[in-house]
């Protein structure tokens, strides 16, 4: 009994397995797409050299502007709008970032069948609620106000 409790549970190992594979894929995507971006192999939506420039009439470079200001200046779509720009070097990077961001959702979905089979009702509820919270965060429905 003690030997069993010393080992990681089935759901814990399943979570670790998905996390391990997804993490390496996500990090590899991040590095490869960044090399594509800075090499100029694909044109960027916001020209790479523009970011450090100071626009006329401003005190700060473009990357010193607030996020919503930069979005306005370059007409950058918010939410999942970046998917329409994935052919551009800068937005290609978001594939790896989104992969890392979505990984926890995949891990929860992987352990759900195990929790259901074990009739671990409270953790099934917790896992379902967590997936709902992460999907809500990822959905782009939530907007920060105050601008």
């Amino acid at each position: 009994m003690t030997e069993d409790r010393k080992k990681a549970s089935e759901e814990q190992l399943a979570y670790a397995g998905v996390l391990n594979i997804g993490m390496w894929i996500g990090l590899a995507l991040l590095v490869v797409t960044f090399i594509v971006y800075i090499s100029g192999a694909l044109p960027s939506y916001v020209p790479i050299e523009k970011l450090s420039e100071i626009p006329q009439g401003s005190n700060v470079p473009y990357w010193g502007m607030r996020a919503h200001e930069l979005n306005e200046v370059f007409n950058i779509p918010t939410g999942w709008g970046w998917t329409s720009l994935v052919g551009k070097g800068d937005y290609l990077n978001f594939v790896g970032i989104a992969m890392l961001g979505g990984l926890s959702i995949l891990c929860y979905l992987a352990i759900l069948p195990i929790l259901i089979r074990k009739k671990d009702t409270s953790y099934v509820v917790i896992a379902v609620l967590e997936v709902a919270v992460l999907l809500l965060a990822a959905s782009g429905i939530l907007k920060a106000g105050g601008h």
């Binding site: 409790r5 990681a8 700060v60 967590e130 939530l142």
Partner: protein, 324 residues
């Protein structure tokens, strides 16, 4: 005599790093001034800043491992205080830096049964929901308000790091009803003692309530929240230190995910800042682990506390517009 030499050495290292950061900051404002006078374009080639960022985050990665802190807590105040990037993008990058580190460490910690899924899942649900609220508040606040609050938080973290005690094996006389009903307990092999340690937790409702505050702060400032997770799991809830540290690290992979999505969806993520930072911190962490074997943790922890104090002060003074 030997003690004073050690203190002197630490002071020299801390001062050198401070001079480096001040030089970066001065260089940023000088190039901006020149650019404003000459035309609209910056006089610095675009690749200089990502390169400097990579070098600095590489150093931060080493210091984070040696000082026993997460990369995010060093990243946000230092990069936010001394680089020409807006605090919105720095916080977005800070969350992704902490997230990448947690995702990388997670599988190993879970497989070794040091990070406990049963302990992490209820906590993560509370903290990740609160982190969304924190991220929305953070993006709605003015940058100087964020800097003032960030500076105050970092100085508070310095206080916690300098004074809080840790307990390897806290005594939990009786687990509370909630932790019992959720079966939050476990057993792990403590190699340093050569024996199995059984653990359980108490004061779960109070701990979960505190994770609301921790989640909000993580989302608002883009900090990994290990500095707060560990004391709550270890000192308040009574989980052994190793379980607390490992579960905290794994927990960040869920808490920071929810806040990172809010920053991503609001356009507050710039790959030019994110990728060099993640790669820099990760490579620095690998080197840090190798140095850790030969280093004296106490001396390095003092150095990290000194740096955090400096970065916190900088954020506070920047927010108050005393040191622009």
């Amino acid at each position: 005599m030997i003690h004073s030499r050690k203190v002197l050495r630490i002071l020299i290292v801390v001062l050198s790093i401070m001079v480096l950061f001040i030089s970066i900051s001065a260089f940023a404002s000088e190039t901006q001034d020149v650019a404003k006078e000459t035309a609209s374009a910056s006089t610095t080639p675009w690749w200089v800043w990502p390169l400097v960022l990579f070098v600095v985050t590489f150093i931060l990665g080493i210091l984070a491992v040696l000082g026993g802190v997460g990369g995010g807590v060093l990243f946000v105040p230092i990069v936010g205080g001394f680089f020409p990037f807006n605090i919105d993008f720095v916080r977005g990058a800070g969350l992704l830096v902490a997230l990448a580190g947690a995702l990388a460490a997670g599988p190993g910690l879970l497989k070794r049964n040091l990070a406990s899924l049963r302990l992490a899942l209820p906590v993560a649900l509370i903290a990740s929901s609160a982190a969304i609220v924190g991220a929305m508040i953070g993006l709605a606040l003015k940058p100087n308000v964020v800097n003032i609050l960030l500076g105050a938080t970092i100085l508070f973290i310095v206080l916690i790091m300098g004074t809080a005690k840790k307990s390897d094996f806290p005594k939990v006389p009786k687990p509370d009803n909630l932790s019992q009903s959720l079966h939050i307990m476990g057993i792990y092999r403590e190699e340093s003692l050569g024996k199995d340690i059984e653990w359980q937790v108490h004061r779960t409702p109070q701990g979960l309530a505190l994770f609301i505050v921790i989640g909000v702060m993580a989302g608002m400032f883009g900090l990994g929240a290990g500095w707060a997770n560990v004391p709550v799991l270890n000192l308040l809830m009574g989980a052994p230190l190793k379980i607390s540290v490992a579960t905290s690290k794994f927990l960040l992979s869920i808490t920071d995910t929810s806040a990172a999505w809010v920053y991503l969806n609001q356009g507050a993520v710039l790959p030019m800042i994110v990728v060099p930072s993640i790669v820099g911190i990760m490579l620095g962490s690998i080197v840090g682990v190798k140095i850790l074997v030969k280093s004296k943790p106490k001396a390095i922890k003092s150095m990290v506390i000194g740096l955090l104090f400096f970065a916190g002060l900088r954020a506070l003074l920047k927010g108050l517009e005393i040191w622009k």
